[in-house]
Amino acid sequence: MSSTLASVPAPAPWVVAKFGGTSVATRARWEAIQRIAAAHRARGRRVLIVVSALSGVTDLLKAIAETRGDEARCREAQVGIVERHHALHRALELPTRNALDGWLARLDQLIADPRRGSGALDWQAEVFALGELMSSTLGAAFLTARGLPTRWLDARDYLRAVPLANQGAWARYLSASVPAAPDPALPGALADLGEVFITQGFIARNDGGETVLLGRGGSDTSAGCFGALLKAECVEIWTDVPGMFSANPRVVPEARLLARLGYEEAQEIATTGAKVLHPRSLGPLRRAGVPLVIKDTNRPHLAGTEIRAAAADAAPCVKAISMRKGVTLVSMETVGMWQQVGFLADVFAEFKRHGLSVDLIGSAETNVTVSLDPSENLVDSDVLSALATDLAKICRVKVIAPCAAITLVGRGMRSLLHKLSGVLAEFGALDVHMISQSSNNLNLTFVVDEALADELVPRLHALLIRADALRVEDGAVFGPSWRELAEDGASAPQETWWRRERAALLRLAGEESPRYVYSLDTVRAQARALMNLFRLPPGEGGRRPGEGSGIVDRWHYALKANPHPAILRALDEEGFAFECVSPGEIAALRATLPQLPSERILFTPNFAPREEYAAALAQGVRVTVDALHPLAHWGELFAGREIHLRVDLGIGRGHHDKVRTGGDTSKFGLALDQLDAFRALARTHHVRIVGLHAHAGSGILDAGHWRSVYLQLAALAEGFRRVESLNIGGGLGVPSRPDEQPLDLAALGAGLAEVKRAYPQFALWMEPGRFLVADAGVLLARVTQVKRKGFVNYVGIDAGMNSLIRPALYEAWHAIVNLSRLDWPAGEMVQVVGPICETGDVLGANRRLPECHEGDVILIAQAGAYGAVMASRYNLREPAGEIVLP
């Protein structure tokens, strides 16, 4: 195929393409390399391919380098290396093996070399270098044999290592530095030799002509150096991921691909957590002004991440949130640091003496705190103890661990502070050990307890998006999310019921506006999804007769979400019991369902007066108590009764401060340290605690949450003698924003089943509310007026916060569409507001709707929960009425 191609002109631009260990390990991967190189050549580029050793080979070479006297282990590793390369050689169907066998013979010589006994560094470097020398040799032969003439270069002839001041012998040989700047003569000299070249990553030569290595991530560094030497048009790093992300996608599936980054930002992200690129590769490229692109070998059509000089006028923006775990803080306190000459020098001398490298530094008048990155050394040896002992001679030292460093990265961080209030609030309840912000204005780092980090990072990522600090709408900077890439081409979100019923809804809005409309089919569908949650195989799980067939033994509908009689009847038919929080709710329930047995009603009030408990007990309703007060002061009321106890497990979850119901600052539940006192009161009054209950918030989309609550309650319940049921609450989230993912019901069921197998003696209860009804209701309203003020467009509708208060109260986000002009192209950004005399009467901020006209029907989605039931007559305006879709 190559013979028909025109040759590339001498001054043609260069592309350096680097491929890692897995990208060179199989024939299929070499075919991909061939396609990529041939495509560049076809575009008139000269190509330099930089390769790593076959995956796993460096570890085998390491085994040889470290065996010293262990002959058997050394030979075993050698056999492994020979077999790997012979196998690939066979797969590549190459005619001759001479070149490869030459390197393998060299390996044999090096193993017999007397320097092996001492593990001499120059000898180790030669051993390690063989991995890249062999992979590039195989590659050159394969590409040439396939019709893409490829010239093999020895990287050591081009990359010259220079020793740094203070650089030890180990680093000079095994982690050397190569100062690479554009060499104007090199492109021309190489152009005389050919068009496509292949060379090795990771290796270079020193002034004495010896082989040296570039350390961890050395192949990236080599690619960067060659890119700079050649002043290439572009350096491509081909890997198994689509590029750099705004967070670690394993922790934050919503992390967005970063389409474009400045060198400094990319270096900061790579340094603070991302593994995809070694930060050392960027230095030479930045100085030479050569852009670098990270590309996915499996999906070469994706644009990847492009790293180049940032545009001077680019707006400041958070680009990523990264996290490092296993961080240890050393806090050093002195009474007289002020004007104490040399204190810092003394302190840091100790770190140097013990071979520990300091990362973050924070200092105050009398304290200096530093962070140590995780290392095997810290865990396996007593180095920290020895350091602390020496430091203790000059200051008071405290070791704080295990910590995680969470870093926000982006240019102009200090000018973003005003946008971070919601983000910073997330740290409010946490113990932040240290905050660090460097003068390069690229980062803001918080050091917190490690146990918090995994949950914190996804929340911070979401909050950064919500705060418009991580501006994911900017397509020039942000690409698709990891999840979207994983689902690549998955079907569009499911059609909603209100799209199907559009005609009926427009008719209903024409009769009366504003108006809530409910779909009972949707309520029933949600109820059935829960009822079927994780059906256990027969005989497992201690099923009690007459109760639900899924993993949850009894579902309660928390009717505060929406007590509409039709909904109550539908859920009763679906097999739900009911949870009430007031006598009014009990009365409404009884009025709608007069036949409902009392024991299917759970009364869970909070700070209710004595009479309410008395009335509920008299009716035979199950009662939940959540404080000492009722038993301490009204013990006789509960004498001989069965009660359920709501505890506060000390964690608050949910989408907004006001809907978090766990933690000391929440008014719900009994604190765990009062449990013994509660039980003593219960014994005194012969009260039987038959159920434990916890509910830690609402709108939770993390399926693991309930497993954790269940597990904690079950562990607590084991200490009780009469507990039969564990009520792990509700709070099942319903995604509202387009970037949120629905609760994974399968994962929820599996998590609950796992706990149930361990604690089959307890019945499992849950009490969702919003999950059942939110999507089943919409609020219809009509456009009253439109207005423009400056750059802000307002669309006024006849429903306000007196009908739907969630946006004002919880900053809740409801999807809003113009039902009269459904699927018309979106117009300008608008604020959807109501007629109430309150600044906060905004139902939706910054929405893109088709141009709205007076009389258009506006639909506010997900209004089935906490909508009509929270309505008021504020301003003496009647709130929206309710109707069930016929």
Binding site: G326, S385, A451
Partner: protein, 492 residues
């Protein structure tokens, strides 16, 4: 059948026990109430070998009698009726002691006095009747026990001391390879540090050991897998009727589960052809948690020395003379076990001694260590002197000694101002010695609870309080086979 409250029952009945196809069924009842059937499932069980049939039947009888404690305690009726087998005086006395002491904490919490109430029916042999009841007060109870480096006659000495009714012939367990000195040991795994220390000792001694555990626990399964030993997982299903009884107000509370597990493993040993069962109970398991109405109450009585000694003796005389039952860690303090555990990082990311989370396996430290229970607190403290701080913090995922809110919990461990909690934790002096070691360490000294100990508690301690090194010395009675004793040397 309608159920009635077991607390109103007149008699608890041992109805029958069966074995078929790897499943032992243990049947009990209150009066004429429904049968309570517990099932023990032995996976891939071989056919019981004829030569061992007598031993197997005796082991099943003993299991039936011991496992009954889970059900008996629901009503604690006045009469105990054994319909399934004929009891001899020695066995009856053993069961009296097991039920009385094993239900000690249960009785304390339920405000019951079981003394004189528990009487297993037996032929009248008044002298032997109370042979197994140890003196209530601790002094002198170990007087007859041999030292660790003795002549290896521990078991014999014990049996001579307690068994005076040897009228039933012992049953021999023939084992292949026994002559060549090849032993096969079952080592029960609990997911905590203790049994993993035993595993490593048995491995270093080159013993043919199999890791065994009872019930469904992903965490224990993960630990067992990490041992690299062959594995055996025995199933146990409680009678669901017990849950119904609990609803009716049955008594509930702590039972001597180690006794039940021991009896299950005796059946397993005979069935699968093992000649030793190596538990991992340490010295401090023998000390009482508190004293109540003149009676010592020990949360972990069936992990204690008295039970081990008596159960071993009963096995030798009634089940199989050549089946060894011992605790490999018996002469070790909790601290000594912790020190041994710290020697290897093999189990760091799988083990858990936490009582709240131990049934469930999770990838994060918080999934395995709740950080709130006395077990978490004690194990953290016990390991702290023996491993690098970052390693310990990586195991727990947090620093419990820097949380001032836990001061009362650690005070309880140190028996400072409070009694010892009802949990399997070490002695107060062990916690104090560990804390005293930490105040000498610069990397710990400033942590909230260590600093508090230095300021407030250490000055009150007696000058002759034992130092850490002293508490690491093996001491006290045990019945470890001679061939393994050298491996318990405290030095590294």
């Amino acid at each position: 059948m309608s159920l009635s409250d077991p607390r109103t029952a007149h008699a608890f009945r041992f109805v029958r026990r069966d074995y078929a196809d790897g499943v032992a069924s243990l049947v009990y009842a209150f009066d004429d109430g429904p049968e309570l059937i517990e099932r023990i499932v032995f996976p891939d069980a071989p056919m019981p070998v004829p030569e061992r049939a007598a031993a197997f039947e005796a082991a099943l009888d003993l299991l039936h009698l011991i496992a009954g404690v889970s059900y008996y305690k629901a009503g604690v009726p006045a009469e105990i009726r054994v319909e399934s087998s004929a009891l001899d005086a020695e066995t009856a006395a053993f069961l009296d002691a097991l039920y009385l002491h094993g239900l000690g904490e249960f009785a304390y919490h339920n405000k019951l006095d079981l003394r004189g109430r528990i009487r297993f029916p037996a032929p009248l042999q008044a002298e032997g009747r109370h042979a197994f009841l140890p003196p209530l007060q601790g002094e002198g109870r170990h007087a007859f026990l041999p030292p660790l480096q003795g002549e290896g006659r521990g078991g014999d000495g014990v049996r001579a001391a307690v068994s005076d009714t040897d009228t039933i012939p012992t049953q021999t367990l023939p084992l292949k390879g026994r002559a060549s000195g090849q032993h096969r040991t079952l080592v029960p795994i609990g997911g905590g540090k203790d049994s993993l220390v035993s595993v490593e000792i048995l491995k270093s001694a080159g013993e043919d050991a199999t890791a065994v555990w009872i019930g469904n626990s992903p965490l224990i399964a993960a630990c067992a897998e990490r041992t690299g030993l062959p594995r055996l997982n025995i199933g146990r299903e409680l009678s669901p009727v017990l849950f119904e009884y609990n609803k009716l107000g049955a008594y509930n509370g702590h039972i001597p589960v180690t006794a039940i597990n021991s009896a299950i493993l005796v059946v397993a040993a005979i069935l699968y052809g093992f000649d030793a069962i190596a538990f991992s109970n340490e010295r401090s398991a023998s000390s009482a948690t508190l004293e109540y109405d003149g009676q010592p109450v020990n949360h972990q009585w069936s992990k204690g020395w008295d039970f081990e000694r008596d159960f071993h003796a009963l096995l030798k005389s009634r089940v199989a003379a050549d089946l060894d039952y011992y605790s490999l860690l018996r002469p070790l303090s909790e601290l000594a076990v912790a020190e041994r555990f710290a020697r290897s990082a093999r189990y760091d990311d799988v083990f858990s001694s936490c009582n709240r989370n131990f049934r469930i396996l999770g990838p994060k430290p918080a999934d395995r260590w709740c950080g709130q229970c006395p077990k978490c607190h004690f194990v953290f403290l016990a390991l702290a002197p023996f491993m690098p701080k970052p390693r310990l913090l990586a195991i727990f995922g947090r620093n419990l000694l820097d949380d001032i809110a836990l001061a009362p919990a650690f005070d309880a461990l140190m028996e400072y101002r409070d009694h010892k909690p009802f949990e399997c934790v070490g002695e107060g002096r062990e916690s104090r010695a560990a804390m005293a070691a930490l105040i000498q360490r610069a990397e710990w000294r400033e942590d909230a609870l260590v600093a508090r100990f230095a300021d407030e508690i250490a000055p009150q301690l007696a000058a002759d309080a034992p130092a850490l090194a002293e508490l690491l010395q093996p001491e006290g009675p045990h019945q470890i086979p001679v061939r393994l004793r050298g491996y318990l040397d405290a030095t590294r």
